[in-house]
């Protein structure tokens, strides 16, 4: 059950109290009932004993009467004479007894032959049901109509005395009704404890009487039991039986069980309201206590719900010093901490997004715009209010709409991205309807059961324009170099060709000075041809694509040095190639680098004996530094900066030939690979050229 603690706690306490009270009540009730029953048992037993004794006592009296009658001289004489004598005396004795009490309803004298000789009283009882005895026998109760009576029969002997040697001449019989004085009954009833019913009957069964009317005999179980037992007669009775000594009778004193249990019920009646009050007070106390605890808890709960809903200014009002107070205070501290860090990160985020030059736009899984930064407003021309909740398609030309919608759908369903997680170039549409090129970096993140897309958009109109301009410049440069290579070389070839023809075909007509001058023309046109070729090679480098692969630098250096050694075979040249680690780069271009450096070294070691060139490498800060070292002419360190410039030369043309492009080409290639090139040297003490290549395995 989804109940609050405030409700559960009192219910729990009330339930607990109720259980305790119920247990106590039932124990108390049981105790009282048992005590009542014990008391009732004792009383019933005593009452039944006393009743039996009272009856025994009155019986003893009647038996004495019977004995007295039997021994009356007149009676003896009467019977002994078979009624012929002493009639008057016998009658007198009978009358005396028969009218003695109200209960004596008849007195009779019978002879030994079983004939009724004389009788008095109202009842004609008929033949005796029991034999006479010398000690006056008492008969079972006999019922005639509504009357219950019994007999006391005493043998009459000839001498009126005991049984010794005297013959029985007849018997005296008293017939009596059951009678118990009202006083005795009240006394006994009181003894048994109110509501008691006194019963008398034969031990063998009917008839039974309650001393007023005839009642059914109680069950045998009751009669045989020595202790009080219960039985049903209309209602549950508690009954105690006792035999009446000297008779075949039994008495029973019984009380209705409800009467016995009355004190227990009274106990319940008295205690139940008290218990109810205790439970109620307990429940109220528990409710009050739980409110004391749950009110601050509810406050914390509400506050945390409010905070979860975004109200970070919410604080808990708990003015206590116990654990709940501590909970409230630490909750507040935590909230403050959260609010602070949230505010911090929000400020940071706002700082980033508000000042970003790029557009930052977030959209949900339906492609509806959820966030729009000032950069976006500047680029697209829409204010934040104009775009929030609107579809992203408003930012793109019509022709992209379908692809955009299916792209979002596909990504949300399958997480398969074509654009997400990448940077792509697309076209955007401004508020004024104009299109512009843009660069989009798109990210996606799951957000509260949905998907959030964040795009960073850069207007690349300017960049595109620059790229276009650069392309145009390149094309121009290309056509220029084409012209240079084609149009400049043709006249040069003509000059050179015709100068040569002049020298060869018309040598005879030319004097020595003319021949020398033609030789100068020849030299200079050659040199200019070389310059043009080098210049073209250099300019071509800037446009050439770099085709990167793993390059075995040692192998490459070997082929280069072999070529140089072959070209310079007319002089002693010691070239060593160390074990060079491989590099990553364009094989052909790197070959040109090594070739230019080694040829450079060969050129400037001319005249050295021996001329030494070393191609080697050394590791430096995680990358490899390759170098080409020679013992040649070296250079003045002051001019080291000019070494790699185009057409820059540190030596006069007469000393060393060259166009001054070789090292410029080296620098350009290394730089295009992202590496660095530099040189160390001293005049006449050799030079070392170093270069690095990113990605070389240092």
């Amino acid at each position: 059950m989804n109940w609050s603690i405030e409700r559960k706690l009192p219910l729990f306490v009330a339930g607990l109290l109720l259980a305790v009270v119920l247990v106590l009540l039932s124990i108390g009730f049981g105790e009282v009932r048992r005590a009542s029953r014990d008391l009732a048992n004792e009383r019933l037993q005593r009452a039944s004993q006393q009743l039996a004794e009272a009856l025994q006592r009155s019986l003893a009296q009647y038996r004495a009467q019977a004995a007295a009658l039997a021994s009356d001289a007149g009676v003896v004489a009467f019977l002994a004479s078979h009624g012929r004598r002493a009639h008057a005396r016998a009658l007198s004795a009978l009358d005396h007894i028969a009218h003695d009490t109200v209960s004596n309803i008849a007195a009779e004298l019978w002879d030994s032959g079983g004939r009724l000789l004389l009788r008095t009283g109202r009842l004609r009882a008929g033949a005796s049901s029991i034999p006479a005895s010398d000690s006056a026998a008492v008969s079972p109760l006999i019922r005639r109509d509504s009357i219950l009576y019994y007999e006391v029969v005493h043998a009459v002997r000839a001498d009126g005395k005991g049984p010794q040697a005297t013959s029985v001449v007849g018997r005296a019989r008293l017939v009596r009704r059951i009678n118990l004085s009202a006083q005795a009954r009240a006394m006994l009833t009181g003894l048994a404890g109110g509501d008691a019913l006194l019963l008398l009957g034969n031990a063998a069964g009917d008839p039974w009487t309650d001393f007023a009317t005839v009642v059914p005999a109680p069950p045998a179980t009751v009669l045989r039991s020595a202790t009080p037992t219960s039985y049903e007669r209309g209602e549950t009775k508690r009954a105690s039986a006792a035999p009446v000594p000297g008779s075949p009778w039994m008495v029973i004193v019984e009380v209705p069980s409800p009467t016995i249990l009355a004190p227990a019920r009274a106990y319940l009646r008295r205690m139940a309201p008290i218990a109810a009050v205790v439970v109620l007070i307990g429940a109220l106390g528990a409710w009050w206590g739980s409110r004391r605890i749950t009110t601050p808890l509810r406050e914390v709960t509400r506050a945390s719900e409010a905070i979860a809903a975004g109200d970070l200014d919410r604080r808990v009002q708990v003015d206590r010093t116990d654990e709940l107070g501590r909970l409230g205070r630490s909750f507040n501290a935590m909230t403050e901490q959260v609010a602070r860090s949230l505010q911090h990160s929000e400020t940071m985020l706002r700082g980033v997004t508000q000042t970003a030059h790029d557009a930052i736009i977030a959209a949900d899984a339906e492609g509806l715009i959820q966030y729009w930064n000032p950069g976006a407003a500047r680029i697209f021309g829409y204010d934040t209010a104009e775009v929030l909740g609107k579809p992203l398609t408003m930012l793109m030309p019509q022709r992209f709409h379908d692809a955009h919608r299916s792209g979002i759908r596909r990504y949300v369903e399958t997480l398969q991205a074509r654009v997400v997680g990448r940077t792509v170039e697309l076209a955007g549409r401004r508020k004024d309807g104009s299109e512009f090129p843009l660069e989009l970096s798109l990210g996606a993140a799951p957000l509260e059961g949905g998907m959030s897309f964040t795009g960073v958009i850069r207007d690349i109109t300017e960049r595109k324009r620059m790229e276009e301009a650069l392309r145009a410049t390149n094309a121009e440069l290309e056509s220029f170099s084409y012209s240079v290579s084609h149009d400049l070389r043709a006249p040069l070839r003509a000059i050179h060709g015709f100068a040569r023809i002049l020298l060869e075909d018309h040598n005879a007509q030319l004097d020595l000075e003319a021949q020398r001058l033609l030789g100068v023309i020849d030299q200079n046109t050659r040199r200019m041809g070389q310059l043009i070729d080098d210049l073209l090679a250099f300019s071509r480098l800037g446009r050439q694509e770099i085709d990167t692969s793993r390059v075995d630098m040692r192998e490459l250096a070997r082929t280069v040095t072999d070529d140089v050694r072959r070209a310079e075979s007319d002089r002693p040249l010691e070239i060593t190639v160390d074990a060079l680690p491989p590099a990553r780069g364009d094989r052909a271009l790197l070959r040109q680098v090594v070739s230019n450096l080694v040829q450079n070294a060969a050129k400037f070691t001319r005249g050295r004996t021996p001329a030494r060139i070393e191609v080697g490498s050394r590791p430096d800060r995680g990358q490899t530094v390759y170098f080409v070292k020679d013992n040649g002419a070296g250079f003045d360190e002051r001019y080291a900066g000019k070494l790699f410039g185009v057409f820059q030369r540190l030596h006069r043309a007469e000393e060393f030939e060259g166009t001054g492009v070789g090292l410029a080409i080296v620098q350009r290639i290394v730089q295009r690979h992202g590496g660095r090139v530099w040189a160390e040297g001293k005049l006449d003490q050799g030079a070392t050229f170093y270069f690095t290549l990113p990605g070389s395995e240092g």
Binding site: S481, Y482, R493, G497, A499, R500, I501, R526
Partner: protein, 139 residues
């Protein structure tokens, strides 16, 4: 000079280059049956007349007035009657796109004219020797 007598067809607009080429070939005695076209249109016209013997080799400059050399090359190689004629591109351009395009269109050789006359003469005469004397064309 009739087309059936032509051994070398030189397509060259620059008279100086034409003269130097001619001189280089002459020194090897290869220029006796040479026909010179001054532009691309002339070269195309030469083949348009086309019956009878065809040249053993065409030396073709690329940068030509009217119709440029690559177009001439394309037409020659596109025509079943002329596509077997060896075409040697003889030009000042060492630009990679030109070289690639020329071979794509079916050029048989691509020679960059050196500025140095000695080298130029050597190249031209070797080309003439090869295509006129060593090469064996289909009959």
């Amino acid at each position: 000079m009739r087309p059936h007598e032509v051994e070398i067809l030189l397509v060259e607009d620059n008279p100086n280059d034409a003269e130097l080429t001619l001189r280089a070939l002459k020194q090897r005695n290869l220029a006796n049956q040479l026909f010179l076209c001054r532009d691309g249109a002339e070269a195309i016209a030469f083949f348009a007349e086309g019956v009878g013997p065809v040249p053993k080799v065409v030396l073709l400059d690329l940068k030509l007035p009217k119709v440029d050399g690559l177009e001439v090359l394309r037409r020659l190689k596109a025509d079943v009657r002329t596509k077997a004629i060896p075409v040697v591109v003889l030009t000042s351009s060492r630009e990679e796109p030109d070289i690639a395009r020329a071979y794509e269109l079916g050029a048989n050789s691509y020679i960059v004219k050196p500025v140095d006359f000695d080298a130029f003469a050597r190249a031209v005469s070797e080309v003439g020797l090869y295509w006129l004397l060593l090469n064996h064309p289909p009959q």
